[in-house]
């Protein structure tokens, strides 16, 4: 048993970093220890929509952005994404995505829509459209 283990150090190493041990890079490392978005920080709703701005760096541009920031930018490139979809797509906790999006917003890389305030739920026209859309599915 012991010999086998010694004979396969790589496999042994990979056992230490299995899923149960959690991510290898801890969430606070990706956000530089921050738990809230920067000074312009509003708490992004899960369905706030994130659109890529003209100021966003391209795939090959050399920027100071970290890999997680870039991953979010790439996810937004094909189409507008909700915060929830970004979190699922990048496999990051929502809290981390909120902080990173705050950075991207400040850098002018993205636009984030504000969710509909509770008092102004969509008007009848839109609700009718939703009902008709659901029927047509």
């Amino acid at each position: 048993m012991n010999e086998e283990l010694r004979g396969a150090p790589r496999e042994l190493g990979s056992q230490w970093y299995d899923n149960e041990a959690g991510p290898l890079v801890r969430p606070y490392a990706m956000t530089g220890g921050r738990t809230k978005p920067g000074p312009t920080g509003v708490r992004f709703d899960l369905i706030a929509l994130v659109t890529l701005d003209a100021g966003a760096p391209g795939v090959d541009d050399d920027t100071a952005l970290g890999p997680e920031h870039r991953a979010l930018i790439e996810l937004c490139r094909p189409e507008t994404q909700s915060v929830a979809e970004l979190a699922a797509g990048a496999d990051l906790p929502v809290g981390v995505v909120r902080v990173l999006l705050g950075d991207l917003l400040e850098l002018g890389c993205v636009t984030v829509s504000r969710p509909v305030p509770p008092a102004q739920l969509p008007d009848e026209r839109i609700l009718r459209e939703v009902i008709e859309g659901l029927r047509a599915l």
Partner: protein, 201 residues
């Protein structure tokens, strides 16, 4: 010239996302319902709880506990370009209710899934939405082998406010799930209109 939509904060071109919550007891079929109607495979998002959890968790004596992860499943239905519906399965455990507070912010309404074999599991969700005046429908997931009850029976057993729709459904069936959502949006529209009339009257 300014268009006729100038007084409309949600212009035709602005993308709009609407949120519907799917609540109910553990194992009642929340993710199944989301999956049945969603155009995407249900996605999972995780929220790390640390400081937020301290507000509701009794952390006395367990100071070492730093974070908890809670997962939420969600799906999407695109009505048209620029108008989509997001469905969120709410985390089942009571202690994650503060997440419901966030989820229900700006939500169009909620579906409370119920199983007649353990109806009591959905009491907390019914209470929650009633207290916050969030429009909801109760969707009874008709599991094979469970006795079938009429919508009236369920409504009485849950002591629902008059007018709250009860729909019998099969959470695995797309058309059935669509019907539940349609009933909810219709009801949310009626509630909203009634409230507007109240506020001017």
């Amino acid at each position: 010239m300014v268009s006729e939509h100038s007084d409309d904060p949600v212009g035709e071109t602005a993308a709009l996302a609407l949120k519907i919550l799917v609540a109910g007891g553990f194992g009642v079929g929340k993710t199944t319902l989301v999956g049945a109607v969603s155009e995407i495979r249900p996605l999972r998002t995780e929220e790390l709880l640390s400081e937020a959890g301290q507000l509701v968790d009794d952390t006395d004596g367990v100071d070492q506990k730093v974070t908890t992860t809670v997962a939420m499943d969600f799906g999407r239905i695109t009505i048209r370009s620029g108008l989509s519906l997001y469905l969120f399965g709410t985390p089942g455990q009571d202690r994650f209710w503060f997440l419901w507070d966030e989820l229900s912010q700006g939500a169009l309404g909620a579906v409370v899934l119920a199983d007649t074999r353990r109806l009591e599991d959905c009491f907390p969700a019914v209470d929650y939405f009633e207290h916050r005046h969030i429009p909801f429908v109760v969707a009874v997931n008709c599991f094979a082998g469970s006795r079938t009850y009429g919508a009236q029976d369920v409504s009485r057993a849950l002591d629902l406010d008059k007018g709250t729709p009860v729909v019998l459904c099969d959470a695995r069936d797309r058309d059935s799930g669509k019907e539940v959502l349609i009933r909810l949006v219709e009801y949310a529209g009626r509630m909203h209109t009634a409230r507007l009339l109240d506020s001017v009257g």
